[in-house]
């Protein structure tokens, strides 16, 4: 199957779904699911292929190239599978809303554009797909109108700034090297000066940084993630932010090359070291800001930024285990963050749009599958052993500690402890505690929603127990970037001289001990099932609806840290935006709209010219 046909199916399918929606909603739903699953199937068939071919030469004389290798295969797989799960989840979620056809069109177009980004082999089509992705995302963020419009504007303005920076980079590469084909560029860059490489990295870095929400460029993300329709938030957080990561990996290790990249700048001010610190800051601050949030999706959105920090930290440390952990964490973050967003979506759907963490509670008894999925997702993002998040985080810590970067490792670990607190709050406030009277009649989520949740939960556990399977793919990626491969001869862990990880050991220990403890528990006298109001309160009656301890769950921490956890960059950008608006307002006063005024301007200008001519006779 050639790559053009893949992209034609992806883009053509999106429009097919749109037009079939005009005929019948059932047909549209069927087509949407069919096309997204077909893409997963085709891409999984392309495993291990290494194709590169020029499909069109006429674009202002520039060849447009499509290619696939292990790196693009992995990303394409993530895009198509998370995309299809999101489409399946959307079936119920979006059914009774308006503009459903438009929603599906945009959702599928975003997916196709992202597939285009990872499958192109030259920077022109890269830029074109990048722009398609940005704009379709903008439309879908604004889907709900109202305050979503403001979030969308923020997103698109930052995106455009990013693309403009990238455009400058592309122009400069074309004028300097006279080629934009990625596979040819790596040879050209070996002779480039470090100053030029730095320039290129900064121009592209702004574009990629905005998309992946690295710390100073992250401000669009919390608004956009919380305002977008929830199934799309899963794509936005799980996949779309990873496009920036793809760009970073492509430029660091496949265009500029390992040795050049690690040699940029003197000792401590080495670029990759600075990037590590940017990653560390991106972990710590957003994770603790997340702790203050009361909107479930906003909390998860801030965590997206934090997790991106781990990925940046992993890929810029520049050791084989570090880069592998960065790529692996990218994959893992796509699974558990998509899962968490989808659980919020399920809760939101069943409660008619309640996302406020202070007005839910006790839903574990009503929505058991969603609760288990949320718990697995939370375990994944925290990195509890036997989930995939554990393996990638373990790899990051290990490479940081053994390369004597304990402060970076501390930032990473601190981020994890912040994650534990806020994810427990997330699970507790929605699913645990007292079930309020108004939520008494909540039903469990429909099957198509649960399907996506179950699949993602299984993937998280599966990759957590057998990390060798994804690591094999990652091994060949880092191998082609010039790193030495990791030792993953057994699929249940990573062997090395300086500390071995063996997940099957942990699994057997937990399962074995768990069964013994459970048997002992069974031996004890059977316990009596009681209602939630039948509990011990030191002699006081427990009023209904009043005793779910959620508001300001970590009150002492809020009092202590809230003054420090302000998003300074957002405030700065808002001020710049405001100032620009004021300047434009002043300029607009000149354009009054009256013809008389314009005639007056012309007369004044003529008079000015005549004056100059009379005085100095320049013309």
């Amino acid at each position: 199957m050639s790559l053009e046909i893949l992209l034609i199916i992806a883009f053509g399918g999106a429009f097919l779904v749109y037009f079939s929606g005009k005929i019948s909603p059932k047909l549209r739903d069927g087509f949407a699911v069919f096309i997204s699953l077909l893409l997963v199937l085709i891409i999984s068939c392309l495993y291990g292929k290494n194709i590169e071919k020029t499909f069109y030469r006429g674009f202002f004389g520039l060849p447009l190239v499509l290619r696939i290798n292990m790196l693009s295969w992995l990303f394409a797989m993530v895009i198509s599978s998370i995309g299809s799960l999101s489409v399946i989840f959307s079936l119920s979620y979006i059914r009774d809303k308006e503009k459903t056809d438009f929603y599906y069109l945009m959702l599928l177009l975003v997916n196709s554009a992202m597939l285009g980004i990872v499958l192109t082999g030259d920077l022109v089509s890269f830029l074109i797909f990048w722009e398609i992705m940005s704009w379709t995302t903008f439309f879908i963020i604004c889907y709900k109108r109202g305050s979503a419009l403001a979030a969308g504007m923020k997103y698109i303005i930052m995106s455009i700034i990013g693309s403009m920076a990238m455009f400058i980079g592309v122009l400069s590469i074309q004028t300097n090297f006279n080629t934009l084909i990625i596979s040819e560029l790596s040879a050209k860059f070996t002779s480039a000066s470090s100053g030029y490489i730095l320039f290129i990295l900064i121009t592209f870095g702004i574009g990629f940084g905005v998309k992946s929400a690295v710390m100073p460029l992250h401000t669009w993300l919390p608004d956009a993630h919380s305002q977008a329709p929830t199934p799309f938030s899963a794509i936005l957080s799980g996949v779309l932010t990873k496009m920036g990561i793809y760009g970073f990996i492509l430029f660091f290790y496949f265009i500029i090359g390992l040795n050049k990249f690690l040699g940029l700048g003197p000792d401590v001010f080495n670029l990759h070291y600075i990037l590590c610190w940017i990653g560390a800051i991106t972990i710590v601050i957003p994770t603790f800001i997340a702790l203050l949030q009361n909107d479930a999706k906003r909390l998860l959105a801030w965590h997206s930024i934090g997790q991106i920090g781990y990925i940046i930290l992993g890929i810029s440390i520049g050791t084989s285990m570090g880069v592998a952990s960065g790529i692996f964490h990218m994959l893992n973050h796509a699974t558990f963050k998509a899962l968490l967003f989808l659980t919020v979506g399920a809760v939101e759907y069943q409660t008619n749009g309640v996302r406020d963490l202070n007005s839910l509670g006790g839903l574990a008894k009503r929505m058991p599958v969603t609760f288990i999925a949320a718990l697995i997702g939370a375990f994944g993002i925290i990195g509890v052993p036997l989930t995939n998040g554990f393996v990638s985080k373990w790899m990051i810590y290990k490479t940081l500690i053994l390369n004597t970067h304990p402060f970076l490792a501390f930032a990473a670990l601190l981020g994890t402890w912040g994650t534990i607190l806020s994810l427990y709050k997330f699970v507790h406030n929605i699913f645990l505690g007292q079930l309020p009277e108004k939520l008494k009649n909540i039903k469990k989520a429909p099957f198509d929603m649960q399907f996506s949740l179950i699949i993602l939960s299984i993937v998280i556990i599966f990759f957590g127990i057998l990390p060798g399977i994804p690591l094999k793919v990652i091994n060949s990626i880092i191998g082609s970037a010039g790193f030495s491969a990791l030792n993953i001869s057994s699929i249940w862990g990573i062997a090395s001289k300086t500390g071995t990880l063996n997940t099957i050991n942990i699994l057997t220990a937990i399962l074995g001990v768990g069964v013994i403890v459970w048997l002992i528990f069974k031996v004890g006298r059977k316990s009596k099932q009681v209602d939630q109001y039948d509990n011990y309160a030191a002699g006081f009656p427990i009023p209904k609806d009043k005793y779910h301890y959620t508001v300001e769950y970590y009150a002492p921490f809020y009092r202590m840290a809230a003054p420090f956890l302000v998003d300074i960059f957002d405030i700065i950008y808002e001020r710049i935006a405001k100032a620009t608006e004021n300047i434009c307002d002043c300029i607009r006063k000149i354009y009054t709209g009256y013809v008389g005024n314009y005639v007056m301007y012309i007369v004044f200008f003529m008079a000015f010219l005549i004056l100059i001519q009379l005085k100095w006779s320049v013309f």
Binding site: N502, V517, S527
Partner: protein, 311 residues
């Protein structure tokens, strides 16, 4: 050897943990001029409550407490007790993560009970653990960076040849910091904010009775054992005793004496903690956080800087 260790080390941990619970009550009583209960009173309590009927708030309520005790037992399997260390995987980093299972299970179980006291207790538990984990992580990072390994077994082995970590001037500050946060890890006064029986009816375990209470007591005993054993393993040289036992090496006596020395060291540390427990009143949660994030964090931070400079 490993197969035997898998069965022996949880047993040792359980017996020692329950013994610690017993002597803590005895010592507290003697310090307050009372006679005190017999040392095996906690064991009697566990057996008795195990045979009593309990209430349950659903299957998650049961699952949480099972997960919690499982997590604590699993930790023991990855912990070097003397020379016994049945399983190794992922070193100290994996160990830190495995330490999450116990509290998380308890938190799930406590929170599904819909008792506000439990929720408050859990919230305090997470805040307290955030505050003591920050210095603790710094301490662990200094040790791992200094010895250049992430394996707990290796850390003990290196100390056998180069002397106790707390005796070397580079690691003395992390050692002090760990000792300062040890009461918070063990949950004794002045950091008894989580259970705080007079305020929030023993917090997370407010709803537990019968076998649930028995399990949570066992979990608490194991948790104390792990906190103390980590201190002994990392800073007090594990089973080593200034090389006095070297003439026995290779024999079974060496292993047995190693375990006894290890447990004796733990007992000494624990008794000191009980003395601290006896003379201090309870902090409020804010005060506890303030203290933990101030002195131990500062000391361990300076310790980590020294380690990095030396390396």
């Amino acid at each position: 050897m490993n197969i035997i260790a898998i069965f022996i080390s949880p047993l040792i941990a359980l017996i020692t943990g329950m013994f610690f619970l017993g002597i803590s009550r005895k010592i507290m009583a003697r310090l307050q001029w009372r006679y005190g209960p017999p040392v095996i009173q906690p064991v009697i309590d566990v057996i008795r409550s195990f045979s009593q009927m309990s209430i349950s708030h659903g299957s998650l309520f049961d699952f949480g407490i099972i997960l919690s005790l499982t997590g604590s037992f699993v930790l023991i399997l990855f912990l070097p007790i003397g020379e016994l260390c049945p399983l190794t995987s992922g070193g100290l980093i994996a160990f830190i993560y495995l330490m999450l299972l116990g509290p998380f299970g308890l938190a799930l179980s406590g929170a599904i009970a819909a008792n506000p006291n439990s929720s408050i207790g859990i919230s305090r538990k997470f805040l307290l653990s955030l505050s003591y984990e920050i210095p603790m992580l710094l301490v662990f990072l200094s040790v791992m960076t200094y010895y250049g390994t992430i394996s707990l077994v290796d850390i003990v082995k290196i100390q056998a040849s180069s002397g106790w970590a707390i005796g070397s001037w580079t690691l003395v500050l992390p050692g002090i910091a760990y000792f300062l946060i040890l009461p918070a890890i063990l949950g004794v006064r002045p950091f008894e904010v989580v259970k705080a029986s007079q305020e929030i009816s023993s917090g997370p375990i407010a709803e537990f009775g019968g076998k649930h209470l028995a399990f949570s007591t066992l979990q608490h005993a194991l948790h104390m054992f792990v906190g103390l054993a980590l201190f002994v393993d990392i800073f007090l040289g594990g089973w080593t005793l200034f090389g006095l036992l070297d003439f026995l090496s290779g024999t079974a006596w060496f292993v047995i004496l190693g375990i006894i020395i290890f447990l004796l060291k733990m007992t000494v540390v624990f008794v000191i903690e009980i003395f601290i427990n006896a003379v201090y009143p309870r902090y409020r949660i804010e005060q506890a956080m303030n203290y933990l994030l101030k002195w131990p964090t500062l000391i361990s931070f300076i310790g980590l800087i020294i380690v990095v400079l030396v390396k």
